[in-house]
Symmetry: C2
């Protein structure tokens, strides 16, 4: 018997679709139900094997689920989680996959029934792609990746443990952190790189774009990500992002001063230090 019975995925895009593919490939659920607003997206998800069944109605879709994964764009997560919490059975786990956690968790605490809050825990799988949609979903997207799970004082410990088991069953390792700490960290490790990649593209005069090579293409790759989605993420993590940006500007100023002053040993030391750190993190 599979470890989970019915798993409902709300929003079957890249992440939701990849979770569905992995669940089905690993035989972890009796049924994977895809929930979405557009029949066309659900049909794509059915066609690529990410879900067993499609539902347009959230209430109906989550009614029999023992696990609900809300994989909608971050701006819709609070509403979808609250709707799911109002419709699931009292033993079900509800989680999300949003790239921010503090705004989402606070919004859900404010909007959902107090009694249902114990059933929710936020999650953020640190995996993705600048491409979107179920057509880019991959069964191994989470394999070997980290998922941050962010319980609050309202989350029951058995629900947090179940979320951990769920993500581990997909091949991920789980780290638990409070929502605020997650957002501070991700501002530096994810949101800032996205912002800087876009700034680098904008700072490259058009007439020189034919001269870019792998240094530029690597450094700017994430600038191809979905602008609407990333604007939502930035808006939900404004303070931490500005803090991370300040730290970057400080480093840039420092390098700028070194270059202006022709202090090449300072520059080489800075590059050496960054290389040492970067080398510890693989290719």
């Amino acid at each position: 018997m599979p470890p989970f019975q019915n798993i409902a995925i709300v929003g079957v895009g890249l992440i939701g679709g990849s979770i569905g593919l992995a669940l089905r490939k690993r035989g972890l659920a009796a049924e994977v139900i895809g929930i979405g607003r557009r029949q066309s997206s659900l049909e794509k998800a059915l066609a690529c094997g990410a879900i067993d069944r499609a539902e347009l109605d959230m209430k109906q879709g989550v009614a029999s689920a023992d696990v609900v994964i809300v994989a909608s764009p971050v701006a819709s997560v609070v509403d979808h989680v609250c709707l799911a919490l109002a419709s699931v059975g009292s033993q079900a786990l509800v989680t999300d996959v949003g790239s921010t956690k503090a705004t989402i968790c606070a919004g859900i605490e404010k909007q959902a029934e107090q009694a249902s809050l114990q059933q929710f825990v936020g999650s953020h799988p640190l995996a993705g792609d600048h491409r979107t949609g179920p057509e880019n979903a991959r069964a191994d997207l989470l394999d070997g990746k980290t998922v941050v799970v962010t319980p609050t004082k309202n989350t029951s410990s058995s629900i947090a443990a179940r979320a951990e088991t769920f993500w581990e069953s997909l091949g991920a390792r789980v780290v638990q952190m409070p929502p605020d700490a997650h957002d501070e960290a991700l501002a530096a490790t994810s949101h800032l790189p996205h912002l800087v990649a876009s700034a680098l593209v904008a700072a490259t005069p058009d007439e020189w774009l034919s001269l870019v090579a792998t240094g530029w293409t690597d450094t700017t790759r994430v600038a191809a990500a979905d602008p609407e989605l990333w604007t939502q993420i930035f808006s939900q993590n404004q303070t931490a992002l500005l803090g991370a940006l300040d730290r970057l500007v400080e480093q840039i100023d420092h390098l700028r001063e070194g270059i202006s002053a022709e202090n090449w040993s300072q520059i080489q030391d800075a590059l050496q230090k960054a290389k040492r750190t970067r080398d510890t993190l693989g290719n």
Copy 2:
């Protein structure tokens, strides 16, 4: 008969080694001679099939060459090119592969015999890797890549044409530009991304490094490049690099203001514009 007779490569690292491998694989030269200061490096190059013969003595190594490629670190290029120009036959082409061109071309014009200057043209293959050494050389490194060739008023047009033929025979496409224009462009398309990648690494607090994902690893990949080499490049292109940095800081300031002011439509427009540009350049 191969199109080239003896090709001498001065400095058989990643780029020099890759050129040697490509020449030998494509049967383009009767003999590929590797010239270096350390027997151990030359033996590595021989072992991986990048060269036919090793020479420690530059004069001897280039004497019979019809093409000399100086693939030394940028700080040594001027000396090595001048030494080669003083030792080659009067019909030979001498070129380099340095990442900067204005300082190198000006240094050579100052230091070499005036009569020999017509035999030199600067080159910069826009290909590389943050890994170095002949052990990372690849026969296809230049395949489909761009090589910028930077003739000056001293370069004979037949030598510039021969350089173009040489790079094209390795599968590259050639763009001709004056050395200054090359450096301006490359400051934006290559040198700045390297600088920013290092700054991003330095701006990431150590305790959060375990939470990085592909966004961060892509954006910072080139921070693993050789610090000494890149310090030389920055020092040879100081003015253009500072100009490129100013343009980046302007973009960052603009994004910072938008985020502070919660002007999310401005932010989304900026991300959208960068995405449109980035999308034209492939993955």
